[in-house]
Symmetry: C2
Subunit: 406 residues, 2 copies
């Protein structure tokens, strides 16, 4: 008889954002008069840059003519896009990354979710706590997580608590771990990491022959000088890190789907090149990203594209500022939001994250994300995102300040 | 130290079509005067239907305006597309498949490659021989294939030889197997399967609680009456089968990327719904297909889209006819090509598949695919595809008939 993957059965029955959507639906049915403002899921609202739209339309037209039609493209992405990425995101910043080290994909979620394919099931995985659930859930599916215990989490996962007293940065684990997921600027806490701190992780990984899976999906939001936009700005990182990037939050591609993963050729474990291993995985399990979409992504690097993207980032960062200042005014403690579209706030009066979720929804119609959904150390915290419109963000903050007076 | 997935290391170093590309490159460098005609990889050449291009352009425009912009879509696909698929591809043919049973993806390669995620590593896998390499390679990566032995293949895979004497149809295995990959109309042999024959497989699967992974990527090419377009036309199949479909070969989406997988709600093993399990896998490991692309796929079902798609299919089937008749004229034995864009020919004079590849390239500049690349029983056969232009197909056949006189 067919046996299903029993690891899947261990997973809690649903996904954080599905739970939230269900709660909001139920609330809306009970209170149809309340206009809901969504600041929960990290989804953007600004339209695609004009340069991107134009490039996609032109590419669609090409696909409609025999002379310019394109069939299967290279699995790792077209050279025009890989070159544009390598040049603009790395070489221009003084980071020597070659186009052959860039793998274009349909999303950082796909890549962070599937990268585990190339690793043995027996590796020890370390994650920040709180953390983007995909890192943990995909390791559960792969059988790397052990069993779940209420209050302590998955038995084989090494959790690295990110606490207020450490500025929400994880501390180097005492034990040896093989695979370390890091995300900076961080989701959910919104804090960034400086060169000096990140160097410690690279040194740890080199010393222990561990790998750092570095999610830099939010690098475009960095405003402070000392923060690396890429882990490959750190000496030695090419021998111990893979970096995940995305056009989702930068250029508004959440519904358009394009991202990329950087695997340096120097990244070799036990004489095996991870660049080649991932190349093999990708060429066996997918057929590359749509030509039309890759042309759209390429246009992000055009002069007009860059200008529009920058405007959007400034727009969202301004929202983050409005949120952070508003929360402070309402008497809340809030973090992040300076190098990130996420603001991480402490719930008032010792409320649990879900209690505050309910209270906030009830009092203001504002939807955020309960910190406990990101892990045990997220309990007592709450995430608000800056991706809504300025108007809605201001409205939400007005409602919050008037409902929760300091 | 990080341990890589040792199963990857077991894989032969490169992929069939990469080997072919390298051989062709080398030949072209030596013989720059020869115009190469590619009938190897199953890639289309007809442009996208106008209706699809228009729909994508309109969708791109929507993405450029705040009022109509779309962020994250549902992981399983937009309802507009899932409904169009369920209605047109199933309900209109009398097959009761619901939109909730449709999972939209970026390709049948992604889905047939990743479906193994939801199954235990200990299942016994059966594949046709010859076979589309992705089914085997992805099971190697997952650790289900055992070890490779020259001449007999992977130790744990059950091979079902598809031989000329059985009309290239596989025979029901004597042993119990858990996962059976079937592809009809078949890649590479180009033969279809009738209701009566397919019913035997469904009965076997029901009796043994096995699952059939049914790749129907070429169903649009079926011209004969008795052939099911979907395995769900067979009674009982909803309790034992998953079906993979694609817009690639139907509507020319090889470079545009959209496909779907059908998992009936009745498909339950050990009380676990595979529809839910795959839903969980997809919502954890991907973020759905681009809105722009899904609108393009929807347009395949418009009146204009359907007409254009039909024209393309007729065009390619006409090429297949030209190939088959030309090969016969040149004295070759050829199969398939009636319900499929693939023609499967026997190599002359006992040549191996690769020997014939070299000979054909040398004598005619025509590139095909060596049958042995699809498995041991493919040795001595060769695949030609009908996806080139009519002009090139005619030119290739002229060269073949004049080079190999009967």
């Amino acid at each position: 008889m067919l046996k299903v993957n029993a690891n899947f059965i261990k997973l809690p029955p649903s996904y954080l954002f599905v739970d939230i959507a269900n709660k909001v639906d139920a609330f809306s049915k009970q209170h149809p008069e309340v206009e809901i403002i969504r600041m929960g899921i990290g989804d953007v609202t600004r339209p695609l840059p004009k340069a991107v739209v134009a490039a996609m339309q032109k590419a669609a037209e090409e696909m409609g003519k025999a002379e310019t039609f394109r069939g299967y493209g290279p699995e790792a992405g077209y050279e025009f896009l890989r070159s544009a990425i390598a040049e603009n995101d790395f070489q221009k910043r003084g980071v020597a990354i070659d186009k052959d080290e860039i793998f274009v994909s349909d999303g950082a979620k796909s890549d962070t979710g599937s990268i585990g394919d190339i690793f043995d099931v027996d590796n020890v995985v370390a994650v920040c706590d709180p953390v983007y659930p995909v890192y943990v859930d995909t390791n559960v599916m792969a059988g790397r997580a052990g069993d779940y215990h209420e209050g302590t989490g998955w038995s084989k996962i090494v959790y690295m608590p990110c606490l207020e007293k450490n500025g929400f940065l994880p501390r180097i684990p005492n034990e040896r771990v093989d695979i370390i997921y890091l995300c900076f600027p961080n989701n959910p806490s919104g804090v960034g990491i400086g060169h000096t701190e990140l160097k410690k992780w690279v040194d740890y990984a080199l010393r222990n022959q561990s790998i750092i899976l570095y999610d830099a999906a939010y690098e475009a939001f960095i405003t402070e000088e000392d923060m690396p936009h890429s882990i490959f700005e750190i000496e030695g990182a090419k021998k111990c890190a893979i970096e995940f990037r995305s056009f989702s939050k930068t250029a508004g591609f959440t519904g358009t789907r394009c991202a990329f993963t950087v695997i340096p050729k120097e990244l070799v474990f036990n004489e095996v090149s991870l660049n080649k291993l991932w190349g093999r995985r990708q060429s066996t399990k997918m057929n590359g990203v749509s030509y039309v979409i890759q042309r759209g992504a390429e246009a992000v690097y055009s002069e007009e594209g860059r200008r529009e993207v920058k405007e959007n980032i400034v727009y969202y960062l301004n929202n983050a500022k409005i949120i952070k200042e508003g929360l402070a005014k309402a008497g809340f403690k809030a973090f992040g939001g300076v190098n990130s579209p996420y603001v991480w706030m402490k719930t008032p009066n010792g409320l649990t994250s879900w209690e505050f979720f309910d209270l906030l929804l009830e009092k203001t119609g504002v939807v955020g994300t309960p910190g406990s959904g990101f892990g045990i150390s997220g309990e007592g915290y709450f995430r608000l995102t800056a991706f809504n419109t300025k108007e809605n963000t201001e409205k939400a903050i007005e409602r919050i300040t008037s409902s929760f007076k300091a």
